[in-house]
Symmetry: C2
Subunit: 152 residues, 2 copies
Amino acid sequence: MIELDTTDRQLLRELERDATQSASALGRKLGLSQPAAWRRIHRLHESGAIKGLRLDLDTERLGFGVSVFLGVKLATKGRVGIAEFERAVTAIPEVQTIEHILGLFDYRLRVVARDIPDFERVLRRRIMMLPGVGEVEANVLLSEERRPGPIG
Amino acid sequence: MIELDTTDRQLLRELERDATQSASALGRKLGLSQPAAWRRIHRLHESGAIKGLRLDLDTERLGFGVSVFLGVKLATKGRVGIAEFERAVTAIPEVQTIEHILGLFDYRLRVVARDIPDFERVLRRRIMMLPGVGEVEANVLLSEERRPGPIG
DNA sequence: CTTGAAAAGAACTGCCT
DNA sequence: AGGCAGTTCTTTTCAAG
């Protein structure tokens, strides 16, 4: 486990707010010189505390107005079944996130579609055709909010 | 809705793979000059196609080994109930994402905790104390994979 | 759209406290 | 660990084809 001091935490908090800030801007906010801030950020990358930077696309503006969370229960739960399901679900472009979970469902999928008819097509012709799929639960996304989290 | 040409799509695909690439590196890959690539990226930001860059932290390495998805059904569903719930849930630092959804549940929360006992504390003393909380479903995250998506 | 150039700023390095 | 000074690279804007 990686231990962080107060300054590292402040850096992460700032970078969570705006990941494009320069080392000099961050240094100014925390009372550090530009190289000092840079070296800390660099260490946070090297240590693996920061996995990287993700591009945050506006799926709605790009024509994918519908996001649906699917809970999926597998009917066939052997080792082969799981591997086969994962391989097949990976090939569906509308599936943005695949979460292997433990609980009432086996997988949780985040699926995007242009609209509801498009989603129905994805669900019927893609999701329901996946090998080993059992029960499927759907929840349509209305709005989403990300919080700073206990780490920053 | 924002219309993208093939080059913009290629840019987004590359940036999804690695959001830290320079305009000149992207230009080289797509056969564009550095200013041309830069202007396209700039336009993708301005148009809102790209919302920004998100810091991707390794919650596990930072000591939060447990991620749990909670489906929450509200018992009280008046306008006041929803507003009150959202205000209260926002104040819990362990809640990383709040998704307002339509379906079997009203909200989906992504919660992080240091370990299972820590998660039990969050669940009993924080989540279950939220105003208007009805049924709660839990799924523990085993592994997660993000896919390029139909946009890139 | 392109190339080329120039100025500003950010990233990175080595040395010193 | 932090700061200072300097080098290299990228970003950003411009002129011109």
